[in-house]
């Protein structure tokens, strides 16, 4: 092997530094969650699983985790179905103002979250959705839709619509064509979008803070309340749990998108 030049070594070192700077501060919650002390001192002087025990024995933490998982699952399902339909409809339709319609679906991404939060709060007050499971599900689904639309649109951009014509002439109705031909081929994009939608809901804080009630809190909301009220390292255990759920899903979503792109390159060759 050729000996790496100084410039190349420097580049590698610098990149590693940037990567560490991006990730390490986040990862610091992991060792802290295993501390034996009753403070956030880093590095911990002794080790224990006390705060995980705390987390899993305190109904406030447990309920919030359960709420978050339930809301994220339902919101993901709704966002995936609606987002896929929207992306598919937008890609096959021809009408004036189609680009504008496409932008509209990305709206929740563009709007500042605090504005979305205030607007949602005001509307949900009138509709009596504040502090309800339905309220959380509705707004989290809306926040997840742009990610599904984006991923599915990308998958559809390399989809050959002649396949739909072929299916039609072979005797498949529009619905069967979509289910048996289009859907399986764009599935990687849909799965990536769904994973994003799940994580978006699972991590969501700003809007959730506005529409929470003491009776119904998601995990991030509970964590925020915990930091505001007390100094309790249980929150580092909670953070580690959120990290353990979200990070693998996002990594999975990313690799799925990559693999899909590679595949489409092959089929174009």
């Amino acid at each position: 092997m050729e000996k790496p030049s100084f410039g190349r070594s420097f580049l590698i070192a610098f990149s590693a530094l940037v990567a560490a700077w991006l990730v390490v501060p986040t990862l610091i919650v992991i060792p802290i969650s295993f501390t034996g002390e009753s403070s956030f001192a880093f590095p911990p002087q002794s080790w224990s699983l006390d705060y995980y025990k705390n987390f899993f024995s305190d109904p406030r933490w447990l309920n919030s985790l359960f709420n978050s998982l339930l809301i994220a699952l339902v919101a993901m399902t709704i966002a995936t179905v609606l987002g896929t339909m929207a992306a598919y409809g937008l890609s096959i339709a021809t009408f004036r103002g189609k680009p504008a319609a496409h932008q509209l679906f990305l709206g929740p991404l563009i709007m500042p979250s605090i504005v979305v939060a205030v607007a949602t709060y005001l509307i949900f007050l009138q509709w009596h959705l504040v502090g309800t499971l339905l309220g959380f599900i509705v707004i989290h689904a809306i926040l997840g839709i742009p990610f599904v639309v984006t991923n599915v649109t990308t998958a559809l951009s390399s989809f050959d619509y002649n396949l739909e014509r072929a299916a039609a002439i072979l005797g498949a109705s529009r619905f069967k064509t979509f289910m048996q031909v289009t859907l399986p081929i764009i599935r990687p994009g849909i799965v990536a979008g769904a994973l994003f939608a799940f994580v978006i809901s699972f991590d969501e804080v700003v809007v959730s803070l506005f529409i929470q009630s003491p009776m119904l809190q998601t995990l991030p909301v509970r964590m925020y309340a915990s930091v505001a009220e007390e100094v309790d390292p249980t929150i580092s255990a909670a953070s580690t749990i959120v990290l353990a759920v979200s990070a693998p899903l996002l990594l999975l979503a990313n690799t799925r998108t990559k693999r899909k792109t590679k595949k489409s390159e092959v089929s174009h060759a």
């Binding site: 002649n162 396949l163 299916a167 039609a168 002439i169 072979l170 005797g171 048996q180 081929i185 089929s267």
Partner: protein, 368 residues
């Protein structure tokens, strides 16, 4: 022997009646009134350049495009308002359109499953179709693991496995190299013969059209210029467009007086049988390059012109000689390589032909 006999069924008749197509947002007719009757079991080719409406017409038969006015009949029944999946036709696409997530076998099973054929029937029919295209051992492969020619044969098998009575083929060989094109031409002709289906074949390739078709419809500008057997359209083109589109042609425009065409710079004798078909007036005289000869004309009646040789191209069995006339027109002569005329660039030569080989057609101005 191929065991495809069971798949066969008689073809259906297709009638297009005053079919027009105007695309949304356009005021111009893309298809300007087509009347065409395709017989049971016929191999009909739509021949034309790009944008002439041949593919649009095929797509209207398939149901991918709506008919603006007029009707399309399948065995007398109006199908022009039916959805593609209700029409029961078969189709082969230029880019194969195989489902990439299904194996070869699953691709061929697809139309049978839509028709709720029993599993036993499916297995039997798929095997027959695979044998028909000589791909028996490729059933478990994915389309991406096959060559272009093999993929198109899978597409053929998929299109015939459910015994449609009509097979539509949209430039099926367009993406293949020359050698494969030729072998698939033979295969497609064989399948047509064995199954007896009605084939509607779209191509821009005149050799494909002449070699495979029972009849050819020559498309131009949203209309059909001529319908006829390959021999008819080649030997008796309806006009100089058809004459020049199918094969090389020399076209001399002029006006007909009796059996003499006056081009303004020369006078050519026209075969009496030919000239009587045409009214007097603007007329084109079409002479195929292979009917022209270079050298001293015989004593018998003939037409001749003189000019300078500007190119000689050896093409194996033939030599293509371009002769520029004094008025700037270039005349193309194709002489068999066995004729040792010894012409070379710069020679002044006489080109002659018998009046009987000239084809008199209505002049472009008159027919437009």
């Amino acid at each position: 022997m191929h065991s495809g006999a069971r798949l066969s069924e008689t073809g259906a008749q297709i009638d297009l009646e005053s079919v027009t197509k105007v695309y949304r947002g356009s005021t111009e007719e893309t298809i300007k009134g087509i009347d065409l009757s395709i017989k049971e079991g016929e191999f009909m080719t739509f021949l034309g350049g790009s944008g002439t409406g041949k593919t649009t017409t095929l797509n209207m038969i398939a149901g991918f495009e709506t008919v603006t006015t007029g009707e399309i009949h399948l065995d007398g029944k109006d199908i022009s308002r039916q959805k593609p999946h209700e029409r029961g036709l078969g189709m082969v696409f230029q880019n194969y359109a195989l489902f990439p997530h299904m194996t070869v076998r699953e691709n061929i099973e697809f139309p049978l499953k839509q028709r709720k054929v029993s599993p036993k029937g499916i297995a039997q029919q798929v095997n027959e179709a695979l044998d028909m295209v000589d791909l028996g051992q490729f059933g478990e492969r994915l389309p991406s693991q096959l060559s272009g020619g093999q993929q198109q044969r899978v597409a053929l098998a998929r299109a015939i496995v459910y015994s449609p009575r009509v097979l539509l083929l949209d430039e099926p060989l367009g993406a293949l190299d020359r050698r494969l094109r030729e072998s698939l031409q033979v295969e497609i002709s064989r399948i047509h013969r064995e199954l007896g289906l009605t084939f509607v074949y779209v191509t821009h390739d005149q050799e494909e059209a002449l070699g495979m078709s029972d009849r050819i419809a020559v498309f131009r500008d949203g209309q059909i210029e001529q319908v006829g057997t390959p021999t008819e359209v080649y030997e008796s083109p309806a006009n100089s467009f058809v004459a020049t589109f199918l094969g090389d042609s020399n076209v001399f425009s002029g006006s007909l007086k009796g059996d003499v065409l006056d081009t303004g710079w020369a006078q050519f004798k026209v075969d009496a049988g030919m000239s009587s078909n045409q009214q007097s007036g603007a007329m084109d005289l079409v002479v195929r390059p292979e009917h022209m000869s270079i050298g001293d004309p015989p004593a018998a009646p003939h037409n001749s012109i003189t000019g300078g040789v500007i190119s000689v191209m050896f093409q194996g069995a033939y030599r293509r000689v371009s002769v520029e006339l004094s008025n700037g027109l270039v005349c193309l002569v194709r002489e068999p390589a066995s004729v040792r005329s010894g012409v070379s660039i710069g020679d002044r030569v006489t080109v002659w032909w018998h009046p009987v080989v000239g084809i008199a057609v209505a002049g472009e101005k008159a027919s437009a």
